[in-house]
């Protein structure tokens, strides 16, 4: 590996890490190697003296003057987010399951009130003939209340179910890697 190969290799690696001021470092190491070569070392010896591409790269990345653009910081943020998954994952899953449970409870309420309403409504017809109109009116009132509650819960179930479906779809599309590309 001669000086040019070293600098090309270093340039590629700096580009991969998104270092914005890569040319400053390349100029610095080019001059540094020139000085070493002028002092009598061969290209290989000079490169060994600076520590090789990997060591130089680490030194540059840990340098306080290095400029790495925002996107790379964002990638680091995503990395921490992924590493923190065992911590926040169960919390989010628990929240999601709770919401699902509440929506399921709305469905159960709708079915229970609906079936009870229909049953009481049918039986109120029996009451008209078996007892009297006043009893039937009482039962009809209860039946209408139950049916009303059934429809209210059914509509709330549809509204909340659609809300959860739409928000899940939105989140899936937002965080889908296919969309991000």
């Amino acid at each position: 590996m001669d000086k040019t190969d070293f600098l090309i290799d270093l340039q590629k690696k700096l580009k991969r890490y998104g270092v914005k001021n890569a040319n400053d470092y390349l100029d610095y190491y080019s001059e540094y190697l020139d000085d070493l070569i002028e002092s009598g070392l061969t290209d290989m010896q000079a490169i060994d003296r600076v520590g090789g591409v990997q060591k130089v790269l680490l030194e540059i990345l840990s340098d306080e003057d290095v400029v790495i653009p925002e996107t790379s910081k964002k990638a680091m943020g995503n990395l921490f987010l992924a590493l923190g998954l065992p911590l926040w994952g169960p919390l989010v899953a628990a929240l999601y399951i709770t919401v699902l449970g509440l929506i399921f409870a709305l469905l159960v309420c709708a079915l229970a009130f609906g079936v009870a309403g229909v049953w009481v409504l049918i039986s109120s017809l029996v009451v008209v003939f078996q007892m009297n109109v006043l009893y039937a009116m009482f039962q009809l009132g209860v039946a209408l209340m139950l049916l009303g509650l059934g429809v209210i819960f059914e509509q709330l179930f549809i509204l909340s179910g659609k809300g959860l479906f739409d928000s899940s779809k939105y989140l899936f599309q937002k965080f889908s890697p296919r969309e991000a590309r």
């Binding site: 009116m137 009809l140 009132g141 209860v142 209408l144 209340m145 009303g148 209210i152 059914e154 659609k162």
Partner: protein, 51 residues
């Protein structure tokens, strides 16, 4: 009007049906003159006993 889709009008109609049922129930309930105290003291078994 599809009942399996959310519709504000259906919700309003359901609330009106509920209120109508409640009014009907309270009117007939007061006209029937149930002895509520007696019903409660029999813990729901009022319909099997004569009082």
């Amino acid at each position: 009007m599809n009942i399996f889709k959310f519709n504000k009008n259906i919700l309003v109609a359901a609330v009106l049906i509920f209120l109508l049922g409640a009014i009907l129930m309270f009117i007939s309930f007061s006209a029937l003159g149930f002895n509520v105290q007696n019903i409660l003291s029999h813990l729901g078994s009022w319909y099997t006993t004569e009082f």
